[in-house]
């Protein structure tokens, strides 16, 4: 099982509604994944600044920690987003590692924030205030665990690179082998989870200079198992299903957005859905949509 919801907006006037639309989609997918949930959302960013999404025990005083670093922080339940001048990122990371081992860095990026936790999808969305968030695209997941424990660390999305995230429905059979090979390439992993390996693989390809669609195409040759992936980058949104296509996927496209749902039920309340182009992404075919810059045209295609 597991459920995936993704929404990539083409029409910027919908951006204030992104969080509410995504939260509603995740709630519908509760019966595909009731044990944990999470989402990555691409909101506004400031030039020269990166956002670190942090997670810590609920008693942790994020505000005091940020004040000590003379940085601003936005707390959301047991997560917090720390705005850091890019030049200070390495310093902040080493400060946290040395002084606050209870703080985990969940994600980093110019625009992406990432929140996840154990519990029903609607509870997780409410804890983090997803409905009030805005942005250009968001990817969410509802989990029914198979490959590793029901923990916050095992919830999706996974992020192993800046502004990069991945959610997964399925199970990989060669993740231990790929993890060992990626560790030799200096990638690091936090869990024994198969999805983190897929995220790490794509991040490694992107770090090596591949574009999103190229990274996804090479994943077809490298990753073995069942998967429907939805991935996000700062400007893009991609979908890939394995060649056997056991795991479900429905997409809807209008002039205003591209939406992904594990089932059509998740898409049913999106604006203008009755006139959307509805289709199932084909097996072993890479789909991506990309906005090269804030002002540029939408690039889309299938590789």
């Amino acid at each position: 099982m597991c459920g995936i919801a993704g929404l990539f907006l083409k029409n910027r006037s919908l951006e204030p509604e992104l969080g509410a639309l995504t939260a509603a989609m995740l709630t519908v997918l509760t019966d595909r994944g009731p044990d944990s949930a999470g989402f990555a959302i691409y909101g506004s960013g400031a030039p020269g600044e990166i956002k670190l999404t942090l997670r810590a025990p609920v008693y942790f005083d994020f505000e005091a920690m940020a004040a000590g670093l003379n940085l601003s922080v936005t707390r959301r339940d047991d997560h917090a987003v720390l705005a850091v001048p890019a030049a200070r990122e390495a310093h902040v990371r080493s400060f946290l590692a040395a002084n606050h081992p209870e703080v985990a860095i969940v994600s980093s990026g110019a625009r992406m924030e990432l929140f996840k936790g154990v519990g029903l999808p609607s509870d997780v969305s409410n804890r983090f205030g997803l409905s009030g968030m805005s942005g250009s695209h968001a990817i969410g997941h509802t989990r029914m665990a198979t490959e590793s424990a029901v923990t916050t660390q095992g919830a999706h999305p996974f992020s192993t690179g800046p502004d990069q995230c991945l959610v997964h429905n399925g199970s990989l059979s060669n993740h231990n082998d790929i993890r060992r090979r990626l560790i030799r390439e200096h990638m690091s992993f936090e869990t024994q989870n198969d999805t983190e390996v897929a995220a790490g693989y794509l991040s490694w390809k992107l770090r090596s200079g591949a574009k999103l669609d190229e990274a996804l195409t090479s994943a077809l040759d490298t990753l073995d198992g069942f998967y429907t992936f939805v991935v996000g980058t700062e400007t893009g949104f991609g979908v890939l299903r394995d060649p056997v296509a056991c795991k479900p996927a429905v997409m809807a496209e209008t002039d205003d957005y591209v939406a992904f749902g594990s089932e059509y039920r998740a898409l049913v309340d999106l604006p203008g859905i009755s006139k959307a182009h509805l289709f199932e992404p084909e097996p072993a075919k890479v789909y991506f949509w990309e906005r090269p810059t804030r002002e540029g045209p939408t690039r889309e295609g299938a590789a």
Partner: protein
């Protein structure tokens, strides 16, 4: 006398069941309890909103219209009803149908007509992977194309595809007959092209007529089982 002006007979007005305000379980329980001689022969189901298992297990010869997109297993186990989906159908539409007709006006997802024993499944759009998997006597007419592994282990019945077929059509096929008008990406193990006999053309003509499809039977190719996988053969041992 003008028939068009005649007042509607109450029996022919469909009974409306709105899933926006009533429970799916109540709908199915009511439809499943209809006696064979029911006077409530026409039903309209509103707002399916992708719900699973809409109109399943019906044994009365009634006409049901689902007004919108359905989720998984719509019209599953149908035994005698005529069910029309005015939209797309999710995984396993008409799975294990015994008799009757299921008509999808849009596209169908995976495993359409899986294991179905009888009746007619008509899909106006495309069907995705595994259409007619393990079919056991149903007739399926797809006016668009089908995805990979369609008619996998299909045992009997007919699968008619007016468009194209994906990879591995008819893999491990038994005695179902496959008719394809467009291209076939590849044939599965033990599936081969067969000569189109006069009987085949006659059967195909009748299937197209029942499905309301217009196509020249001479433009189809027929595929069937080469029957080399029916029994263990020692020369195949290396393949296991």
């Amino acid at each position: 006398m003008s028939l068009a002006a005649a007042p509607k007979i109450a029996e022919t007005d469909p009974a409306i069941f709105d899933l926006a305000s009533a429970e799916l379980r109540d709908l199915n329980a009511m439809l499943q309890a209809l006696p064979p001689d029911t006077n409530e022969t026409a039903w309209s189901i509103l707002n399916p909103r992708g719900a699973h298992a809409v109109a399943v297990g019906i044994t009365a010869p009634v006409a049901i219209t689902v007004e919108g997109h359905a989720g998984y297993y719509c019209a599953g186990m149908n035994d005698g009803a005529s069910i029309t989906i005015n939209g797309n159908a999710g995984t396993g539409v008409a799975e294990n149908m015994m008799s009757g007709t299921v008509h999808v006006r849009g596209d169908a997802s995976q495993s359409a007509g899986a294991t179905a024993h009888g009746g007619l499944l008509i899909i106006d759009g495309n069907a995705s992977a595994r259409c007619g998997i393990s079919m056991k006597g149903v007739d399926i007419v797809v006016k668009g194309s089908v995805g990979h592994m369609s008619a996998f282990m299909a045992q009997s019945g007919n699968l008619v595809i007016l468009g194209d077929a994906g990879e591995a059509l008819g893999d491990s096929l038994y005695e179902a007959k496959l008719f394809v008008r467009g291209s076939v990406a590849s044939l599965g193990a033990d599936c081969e092209e067969k000569p189109m006999t006069a009987q085949d053309k006659s059967d195909l003509t009748e299937l197209l007529r029942r499905a309301g499809a217009t196509a020249d039977v001479n433009s189809f190719k027929r595929y069937g089982s080469a029957r080399t996988l029916y029994h263990f053969h020692v020369d195949n041992a290396g393949a296991y």
